[in-house]
Every structure is written in structure tokens, then in C-alpha cells.
């Protein structure tokens, strides 16, 4: 998320009329706020904006004028953003050490860094992958994400099977390890990722299988969720119970004179059910009650979580 955020915020630095650091940071904060309001899932964006603002505030003030400082900021920022684009290649290179020949890897959702790592590993090793896909998340995700993982992997020649995410526990024993991307890595050492990662991690733990998350360093986020419901993405509509529509009154069996209006309504309802039955899709409201990301707790580890800033 950092490179796009950087490119979005450079013009702010460049074009701002701010005469002081305080004004500049304030302008950045305001614009970051606007950005956050526009996106449904602000976690990655938050991390990016936070990093950018920290970068601006902690930047060494060496130039004589403020304008000079601003150009220097943008220059250094662009350098960092360009560098950030190479992070995924570095991660792919590092992941190689974890992958053995004939590994069966379970992955989840679509993650660019996981894709890169798998495709990179495919160049040197024989791997096959299982991609867990959830019918619900299919609808949640953008159309282009549907089965994108599967298609990309198959096109590259990696054998790939698609399982439902309800079958994760079933396949876990056949899997060598789980590899997922990340939305953010939080201060507790936990992971925020596409919904379903948490149960995958729990199942992997129960089956004593390694669970790896790939994260670029700009995904580190100063956030400490206490539970799933403490995430910034959680809102009151998620998991809320719908108010049931009033149950339609059962038409009285008068037999003698069926009211035309009732029968018409009945006919309409029947036709509606006929058309909706084969589809069996969640409607937009039902989808909106589902979370898009979940929080995987750090279960066991002994290192200290130390943040680079």
C-alpha cells in the first residue's frame, strides 16, 4: 500500500502552500483522512499514511529553506517508494529457503506477494499448491479477484487445486505449510489478513503445520487489536441481526371466493421464489454483514515485537 499512498501524497507535499512543518503535517493528515473515508478497508491505507507522515516528521531538516526541504522530502520519498516496489522480489527470494521440492502449499485469497513468491519458487522447484476459496469471499471480492490465484498459478504451470475454505481442515494433513499474504502486521505480533486466515492458522496450529505470512516492512502498523471486534474495519453492521420482515399473513382458506389480489400476490411470490431458488446468492445486505478481514493472534513466539519507528 505504501507506493500508491506515497504517490498520492507527494502532490500534497509538492503543491502545498504550507510554510511550516506543522502546517504540512496537518495538510497530510487531512488528506489521509479523506483517503481513509473513501476506502472500505482502511487498514493497509492507514499503515501507509502513518508511515508516510512519520517519514515526513522524522526527516532530517538539513536544507536552508522550507521549499528546499519539501523538494528533498519528495525526492527521498520517491526513492523510497521506488525501492518499496522491489520489496516483493526480496521477499520472494527469502521465501525460497522455506520451500522444498514437492511441497504442497496451502494459500488463501489473492495476495501479490504470495503470487510472486510461488512463481519465483516455481522456477527452481517442483511445487504444487492448494488454493482455498470461499464462496462468500468470492462475492465479497472484486470480480477480477475471483479465482485469480488459481488462474495465475495454472497458467504458470503450477498444479493447483481449489478447495472450499470449509475444507481447509480436511486438506491440512496433506499440506506441508500454509503461506498467506498480509493486510497488516500489528503491534501484538498478530496478523490482519483476508477473512478466513484466522481459522486457517488455528487449523494449521492444531495440525502442527507451519503457517507463514509474507509481509513487506511497510505493512507494520501501530495498532493493537484486542479482539476481532477491535479492528478499525469492524462496524455495527457487521454481524448485526437483520430485522425480520413481518411474516405475511396466511391467506384464509375461504375456498368459495378466492380474492384475486391474494392469489396474484401468491403468484408473484411463487414466481419470485422460482427465479431466486436456482441462484441462491447472498444479497448485498447479507454480504455487507460479513467482515472482509480478520485478526490472527500471535499464539506462541518469544521474540520482542520491535517496530522500526
Amino acid at each position: 500500500m505504501v507506493p500508491p499512498v506515497c504517490y498520492l501524497l507527494f502532490p500534497v507535499v509538492d503543491g502545498s502552500s504550507a510554510g511550516t512543518m506543522f502546517e504540512l503535517v496537518q495538510a497530510l493528515n487531512d488528506d489521509a483522512e479523506v483517503l481513509k473515508r473513501r476506502t472500505p478497508n482502511p487498514i493497509g491505507l492507514n499503515a501507509g499514511c502513518e508511515l508516510f507522515i512519520a517519514f515526513v516528521t522524522l526527516f532530517p531538516h538539513e536544507s536552508e529553506s522550507f521549499a528546499g526541504l519539501k523538494t528533498e522530502l519528495v525526492h527521498q520519498g520517491r526513492k523510497y517508494a521506488a525501492e518499496a516496489l522491489t520489496f516483493r522480489d526480496k521477499i520472494a527470494e527469502l521465501t525460497l529457503g522455506f520451500i522444498k521440492d514437492d511441497s504442497v502449499i496451502l494459500t488463501h485469497s489473492y495476495s501479490r506477494v504470495v503470487m510472486k513468491a510461488l512463481l519465483h519458487a516455481h522456477k527452481t522447484k517442483r511445487i504444487s499448491s492448494i488454493y482455498a476459496r470461499s464462496p462468500a469471499s468470492d462475492q465479497l471480492m472484486h470480480m477480477r479477484h475471483r479465482l485469480k490465484t488459481y488462474e495465475t498459478l495454472t497458467a504458470a504451470g503450477i498444479p493447483c487445486t481449489v478447495v472450499l475454505d470449509s475444507a481447509v481442515a480436511y486438506v491440512m494433513d496433506r499440506v506441508d505449510f500454509v503461506l498467506v499474504g498480509s493486510e497488516a502486521v500489528v503491534e501484538s505480533g498478530g496478523l490482519i489478513n483476508a477473512v478466513g486466515s484466522n481459522q486457517m492458522a488455528i487449523i494449521a496450529k492444531a495440525a502442527s503445520k507451519p503457517f507463514y505470512a509474507l509481509a513487506e516492512s511497510y505493512k507494520f502498523h501501530r495498532l493493537f487489536p484486542l479482539s476481532q471486534y477491535d479492528l478499525p474495519t469492524h462496524n455495527s453492521t457487521i454481524l448485526s441481526l437483520p430485522t425480520l420482515p413481518q411474516r405475511p399473513a396466511v391467506p384464509r382458506f375461504s375456498g368459495s371466493e378466492p380474492a384475486t389480489s391474494t392469489s396474484a400476490a401468491h403468484e408473484a411470490a411463487a414466481s419470485a421464489s422460482r427465479t431466486s431458488t436456482p441462484e441462491m446468492k447472498m444479497d448485498a445486505e447479507q454480504i455487507s454483514r460479513n467482515p472482509s478481514v480478520d485478526y490472527t493472534r500471535r499464539v506462541l513466539s518469544f521474540w520482542n515485537t520491535q517496530f522500526p519507528y
Binding site: 503491534e187 493493537f224 484486542l226 520482542n304
Partner: protein, 462 residues
């Protein structure tokens, strides 16, 4: 509860004698009979105590001792008699043949008068016992004398309050101090302060917070400029103390209020244990910000500090529930977050806090309720503590904290003078880091096992 404990100890000496004949007949008795025997013994004891008003202390024991010491040969005879009576009991359970009280006070213990004087289980002898303010050694400033009294009487409690009170008192001491000739303030002031500190420690063991603050003060004193006029140097020290209080305690609390307050959501049920000044502020702050939540206050003997928190929170208009520690299990499922304060926090992430906190945290952990500890960074102690047994403090024996307007005199309420009864009230316990979800400090929310990285990140020694 207490009489039963006493009884066990009473029965033991006769049981513990070389001949192990006695347990058998006791086993033969039915439960009801044994119960009856106990009741009788208890009644006998009560009448005896009633006969000696207020004489439940060492005096009675002393009176009794000679007779018992001269009577050891009597014991087997008595036992025989008792056995006979028990045999009879099985036949006709109603009468009460044991008229005389049982042999009291084990002989060994009776001989050792110092044991009675010590009060407190011997394995807990290393715990700091509160002492009445000792006679001052050296020149003790009146402010310190008063503060020591307030500490030992538990008029000032809580890590923050004690630290602030100590530092404020030291400000007065420093202002009233004048450097003797041929010395400098930076060298001599500390020797003037150390008897004051040891006087405070004699009143009540020093809190980690006080230790950290005093260490910082020592550093400031030794670093103060020799060429500065005395009054200026003293003023500088006092302002340093003020800054310490402001930065490390007052402002830290405000930051914690905001951070921890953001973890309270509408409709939450917050559980807290005893009373922590920080938690109190967090809850009040979240309430003034208009968040709609309710609070469960869990409390426990002997200090019942939660009552004060209850009165403050309910006066502010927060929905409160008050319960004692044993009832925790029934409400823990309703709780969304546990919010507790801390006395100090060790570098391995374990939290030293009011006795009972560990229980609450473990219960919450078992039920997957997040446990959040609110703690300023100046409470960090670089040591490691693995249990609450190696270092702890005992609450004063007796009902010092009770505010019940009972008709009985206070002496009658306390159990402290019963022979063979030890009351153990440790003030603190240790919550292992595995039971804590997060620690809220003024530098952010951190997992408990990252505590040790904080001083480093702050770039200073605590």
C-alpha cells in the same frame, strides 16, 4: 472458617503423639458424631473465652502453660477416657461426656513464646510486615515522619499516590535543607536524604515507583552544578521533581486515558479489580466522552478498595455492578474487556498488582476475554520476578480497612489474638505475562513480553 482451622491445630498434638491409636476410633465415628464432637469443643472454647474477657492474647496462653507442662502424664489417661466415651457415644449419641476442654496448645509451641509473638506463618516471615512507626534514627524531617505514619496506617496507598507524596515531601525536605560548611550540596544532600528514605522504608516497604523516582532524584542531585548558589540549586531540584511528577505520572496518565479509552466501545462491559487510579480516570474519561458502557467492579477482602471506585463511578453516572472475587466466575462470560492497574511491571512482562488480579486475569484468559493493564512506564522494574512468594508485603492484621458501623468493639471483630491462628493477607500477587493481552503505557499499547524493549526505545534508563 477460623474456628475450624483452630480446631485442626488443637486436635493435632494429641494425634501426633507417638502412639497412633487415636485416629482409628475417630474414623470409626460417623460423620455426624464427629461433627457433634467439634461443636462441643467449640462451645467449650467459647465459654472459656467468655470467662476471660479480652484475655485472648498471650496472657491466657501463659496462664495455661504451667498446668499443661506439669500434666503430660495426664494425657494418655484422658485419651483412654475419651476413647471409652466415644465407644459409649456409638451406643447413645446424645449425651456430652467430654466436659473438660481438650488439651490446648502444642507443648513445643507453648514452650516457644517467640512463635506467638511473631504472628504470621514462618515461611512468610520474609514478607514485609507493617510496623508501627519506629523511633526515628537521626534527623528526620517532620514531613517525613508524618508521611511515614500515613504510609504505615495505609492512609496513603497506591503506587502513584505514594510516589507523588514522597516526592512532594522530599521537596519540602530539600527546601528546608542547608548545606553544612566545607561540603557541597551535590555531595551532602544525599546523605541527608538517605535517613529520611530509610525511615519511610521502615514504615512500609518501598514501592517500585518510589525506588525509580528516588533513583532519578539521586541522579539529579549528583549532577547538580557545584557553582550554583544553594537556593538556586534547591529550586532547580524542586522543579526537576515537579517535572518528573508532571511528565511521568500526570501526563502519562492522560495519554493512557486516551489510548485505553479508545478500546472501550459502545455497549461494552468493562471489568476491573479493586481500585486503580489510572483505571478510574480511564473509565471516567470514556464516560465523559459519551461512550455507553457498564462497569463490573470486582473486589476482595481485606482492603475492599473497590467500594471507593464504586462510589466514584456511580456518582459520575456510570452503570456499575459490584461483586466480590468468589462471584467472578458467574459474570466473566458477560465481560468484553478486563481493565486493571498495576503496582509495578517486571521486565519479563509479569505484572505485580493487588492480590487477586492474577486470579481475575487467569479467569479472563480462560474465557478469552482480553486483559488490558494500564501502567505508566515509570512503574517498570528491570528485575525479573517469577512468583508472588519471593517478594511481597503483608497487609496489617485486623480490620484496619473495615468501615462497618458494627455494634461490637473493633477488638472483638479481629481474629488476630486467637492462639494458633495465623492470618495471612499478602497485598500483591504476580500475573504471568501469558495471561495479559496488552499493556497500555504512555508510549503506546504493547504486548507484555515486549516490556523490556521500552527503556531502550526511550533511550534512557528508568
Amino acid at each position: 472458617m477460623a474456628p475450624a482451622a483452630t480446631l485442626d491445630v488443637q486436635v493435632q498434638p494429641s494425634n501426633g503423639e507417638p502412639s497412633r491409636t487415636l485416629p482409628k476410633p475417630q474414623k470409626e465415628m460417623t460423620k455426624a458424631e464427629r461433627r457433634e464432637l467439634q461443636e462441643r469443643q467449640r462451645a467449650a472454647k467459647a465459654t472459656k473465652q467468655a470467662a476471660v474477657p479480652n484475655g485472648v492474647n498471650g496472657k491466657t496462653a501463659n496462664n495455661k502453660k504451667p498446668t499443661e507442662v506439669t500434666q503430660p502424664s495426664n494425657v494418655p489417661a484422658q485419651r483412654k477416657e475419651r476413647r471409652a466415651s466415644r465407644a459409649a457415644d456409638t451406643a447413645r449419641p446424645t449425651p456430652a461426656p467430654v466436659n473438660k476442654p481438650l488439651q490446648k496448645v502444642p507443648l513445643v509451641a507453648a514452650a516457644d513464646a517467640s512463635v506467638e509473638k511473631a504472628r504470621g506463618l514462618r515461611i512468610f516471615a520474609h514478607f514485609g510486615l507493617p510496623k508501627p512507626a519506629s523511633i526515628a534514627k537521626g534527623e528526620i524531617h517532620p514531613t517525613i515522619v508524618r508521611l511515614a505514619l500515613q504510609f504505615s496506617n495505609f492512609k496513603i496507598t497506591g503506587a502513584n499516590a505514594r510516589c507523588i507524596a514522597t516526592l512532594t515531601a522530599f521537596k519540602t525536605v530539600i527546601q528546608d535543607y542547608s548545606t553544612p560548611p566545607h561540603t557541597t550540596l551535590s555531595r551532602h544532600l544525599m546523605t541527608h536524604l538517605s535517613p529520611q528514605i530509610s525511615h519511610l522504608v521502615a514504615a512500609r516497604p518501598m514501592a517500585i515507583t518510589m525506588g525509580n523516582a528516588i533513583r532519578q532524584l539521586k541522579l539529579e542531585i549528583s549532577g547538580s552544578d557545584i557553582d550554583l548558589p544553594e537556593q538556586d540549586a534547591k529550586n532547580a531540584l524542586c522543579s526537576k521533581i515537579d517535572h518528573y511528577i508532571r511528565d511521568r505520572i500526570i501526563m502519562a496518565d492522560q495519554v493512557i486515558q486516551e489510548t485505553a479509552g479508545s478500546k472501550i466501545k459502545d455497549g461494552d462491559v468493562i471489568l476491573t479489580y479493586a481500585r486503580s487510579s489510572v483505571v478510574e480516570k480511564v473509565l471516567l474519561d470514556a464516560h465523559t466522552e459519551g461512550r455507553d458502557f457498564s462497569v463490573i467492579i470486582v473486589d476482595s477482602r481485606p482492603m475492599l478498595e473497590g467500594k471507593r471506585l464504586l462510589s466514584i463511578l456511580s456518582a459520575a453516572g456510570i452503570q456499575c455492578t459490584y461483586l466480590l472475587l468468589p462471584a467472578l466466575g458467574s459474570v466473566i462470560n458477560e465481560v468484553s474487556t478486563v481493565l486493571v492497574g498495576a503496582h509495578s511491571i517486571h521486565s519479563n512482562g509479569s505484572v505485580f498488582s493487588r492480590a487477586g488480579t492474577a486470579l481475575v486475569a487467569m479467569m479472563a484468559k480462560r474465557h478469552s476475554v482480553p486483559v488490558v493493564v494500564c501502567c505508566e512506564t515509570y512503574k517498570f522494574s528491570e528485575g525479573v520476578q517469577l512468583d508472588s512468594f519471593t517478594k511481597n508485603e503483608l497487609a496489617p492484621i485486623g480490620d484496619m480497612f473495615s468501615s462497618f458501623p458494627l455494634t461490637k468493639p473493633r477488638d472483638a471483630l479481629t481474629l488476630q489474638n486467637r492462639p494458633n491462628l495465623e492470618i495471612l493477607n499478602p497485598l500483591y500477587d504476580l500475573t504471568p505475562p501469558s495471561c495479559i493481552t496488552a499493556v497500555v503505557t504512555e508510549v503506546g499499547v504493547i504486548p507484555p513480553n515486549s516490556i523490556s524493549s521500552i527503556p531502550l526505545a526511550l533511550g534512557r534508563l528508568l
